[in-house]
Symmetry: C2
Subunit: 217 residues, 2 copies
């Protein structure tokens, strides 16, 4: 019994530590300031152009890696996910594609500053990148994303990694004029693949292991 | 630059550690032995009976907590999830309900031994319970499970926690005769809510942050 008791005590400590690390503080939407800056230039390309670009990039650099941020705020006592909306239709997590040899964390900070910070004012310490929540794979250029690698696929063409990014109590978001930053409740995302696609609609599941400490304004 | 360089080095170390902890070894299905034991007795109750039982249990003990195991094996170079099938229809993750005041880990080990080990031979060290992958909540007795708690719900009635359980290189599974233990590829579970329900069909997403080290037989 002595050994067993000791084992249990250790497990309880570990469980308590794990419990703490799974608690995420979120702050009211009203704590944040939202401004705008000049529009981002998007590639105005056809699907065929895009496919061609992806193929030649793959030939040159191999697997394309995208990093995306899960940023949360509180509204009506429910966690809301920050999404960028393009042309009143497509929803995207803030993030983008890594440069060759760029680390996940450096790349994500660069992309977040480009899309969410005032130009020239941002530095890497603006963003606290936390753990990787999930990865999605595109086995071929023309296929959808899957949350696993199939065994019959030689090399995946694209990998999208989602990271939890912890927001400070307050900050400014300065967003390009042709993008809209919106806050969507988790309950609206869940099982709403039609509107948000498989990756974003799956975020509530990826977050389900966390408890949210909602800090009152 | 010195401080910055130091910061980057620390992040790289952390990233490397995180990367290692996200690698999961899985072994071929053929490494495991499957046997059977006497059937488990199930409560043969109507939906109304079940509802009544859940309500009186909630009144007595509060939130009902279930713990379930994500157990993986390799087959055809693809990770497969072990599921229990009841009456050739319902699929379940191995696990069950905690006793009052029982810890998640103790309860899960007890349930796994009851459903997957020979009677009397099992001890807690049989099962290596890893991290919590996700939690699902039942806001009311008659509703579905959701991967978040709604703000307009006073107290949830049930919480189901999924844990990654790491299998050893080899072991025996001794399963009650009225249950079937089956291995289902992740690619068959994903987006197959109709067959497997929301919790099991979401497991591939919850596992997507891991890389699998498939150990050849």
């Amino acid at each position: 019994m002595g050994d067993n008791g000791h084992l249990h005590a250790m497990e309880d400590d570990e469980a308590a530590t794990a419990e703490q690390s799974r608690a995420v503080r979120i702050y009211p939407l009203g704590n944040y300031y939202f401004g705008s800056k000049e529009p981002l230039l998007f590639k105005n390309e056809t699907l065929a152009d895009r496919l061609h670009r992806m193929k030649s990039n793959y030939a040159a650099n191999g697997l394309r890696t995208c990093v995306e941020a899960v940023l949360l705020v509180e509204l009506f006592k429910h966690p809301h996910l920050l999404l960028l909306q393009i042309r009143n239709s497509i929803f995207k997590l803030p993030g983008g594609r890594l440069r060759p040899n760029e680390s996940d964390i450096d790349g994500l900070k660069r992309k977040l500053s480009r899309k969410l910070s005032a130009n020239g004012t941002s530095d890497a310490s603006d963003w606290e990148v936390g753990e990787c929540l999930g990865m999605w794979w595109r086995p071929d250029f023309e296929t959808l994303l899957y949350p696993y690698l199939s065994s019959n696929v030689k090399g995946a063409k694209e990998c999208t990694k989602l990271f939890l990014v912890k927001l400070p109590e307050s900050r400014k978001f300065i967003v390009p004029k042709n993008l809209k930053l919106i806050a969507v409740p988790l309950c609206q995302l869940h099982e709403n693949q039609k509107t948000y696609g498989p990756v974003i609609s799956g975020v509530p599941q990826l977050l389900s292991k966390f408890s949210f400490n909602i800090i009152e304004a």
